[in-house]
Point group: C2
Chain length 198, copies 2
DNA sequence: TTTCTGTATTGAACATCGTTCATTTTTATG
DNA sequence: CATAAAAATGAACGATGTTCAATACAGAAA
């Protein structure tokens, strides 16, 4: 019955990630403290370090979960048999909706930095890839002569552009802008990008 | 001769900001430590807190300086009597060039977060405004019916889009991309945004 | 110049954080 | 049930930002 050990460890891991997720959602990544996580997870402080190497490991796990929910939300938003303009529009607005609804968790995806010199693990970098894929799909039909790499790079450019508009707004840089106005701007940019393919 | 007091204080402030700037340039914002700053500035640890309320205050001062240098670099890049497409292109590539040359200092502009609940001071928010203004100028001629607010918001959208592409790349999210390729993508986006105004 | 007073500077001390590890508790096995 | 191995615990450690009583200094008065 060595299964009980595994089950307990998995349960602890789940509780820690859940606690971390709730704390980031409520207070943002910056306010995250190991002691708060352990307390909320009903574990001892040291328990966190039997599952993760350090806090960064737990944050990556939280971000993993956020990315999965984001992916589900975006895939739900893709209309079947739509023009590329409609697809870009739906994806962009769904991305905006997710960022607004889960502001702190979404921000943690991009705010988090590994310590000096430590690279983001490859498995986590790969988890971001679907964002590119969602755009590369529709894009491929409009870039006939292009290689897969060309398409992926252009998809990344389009994603980053929309992401930038949302990030700058939600970070509160510059003077404020109403959510309605932000939605209009995101839609306008999505249309500009789609039209550039004609 | 109460001037000597002011002069010493200003000198201390200068040394602290210079030290902070060098440390962020070398090690990034995340590795910044109060003790390192004080040592490099040739001051006692407590001295830092006679000039700034806390580390955030010093970081804002460093970011102020970075913004001034960025502003100078961008203004230098605007060609006289150019089309809007050429202007967008020059500005975007100059922005990319600055971000690449001063990666850590540029990143600090957007990575830095005030503590939970503390807003960025208005005077520092205002320092970002020139970025919008540089784009709003050329834009105004192409948006005849629009209000000044409309133009400012659209300028912000365009800036944020280009910024997003550069930020996502330099942050090392997703898989890497060569500097040449990044330059091409930034140029392509600048052109797309300019053409959308025709 | 010398003395005195208020200000500026100092760095040891403090509170808080992430992380470690000797100890205790729990689980699996003979 | 007894014993060994593994896991969980939380006190302790080192590093950090910040404070503050003690010290050094600048400016005014004599």
């Amino acid at each position: 019955m060595t299964a009980k050990r595994q089950a307990k460890k998995e349960d602890l891991r789940t509780r820690l990630v859940t606690a971390g997720t709730q704390l980031i959602r409520d207070q943002g990544l910056k306010g995250l403290r190991a002691r708060d996580i352990a307390e909320r997870a009903g574990a001892a402080l040291g328990g966190l370090y039997t599952v993760f190497d350090d806090l960064d490991g737990l944050i990556l796990a939280v971000n993993s979960g956020t990315l999965k929910r984001l992916e589900a939300a975006l895939e739900r938003a893709i209309p079947p048999d739509a023009t590329i303009e409609q697809t870009f529009l739906s994806l962009s607005l769904a991305y905006l909706g997710f960022a607004q609804a889960e502001k702190n968790l979404w921000a943690a995806l991009f705010e988090h930095r590994m310590p000096e010199g430590v690279p983001v693990p490859d498995w986590h970098l790969a988890e971001h890839a679907f964002l590119i894929g969602l755009i590369a799909g529709p894009l491929a039909g409009r870039m006939p002569g292009a290689t897969a790499e060309d398409i992926a790079i252009r998809a990344r450019t389009f994603f980053s552009a929309v992401h930038g508009v949302i990030a700058v707004s939600l970070e509160g840089r510059f003077v404020g802008i109403t959510p309605e106005r932000l939605e209009r701007e995101v839609a306008a940019l999505a249309r500009i990008l789609a039209k550039s393919l004609d």
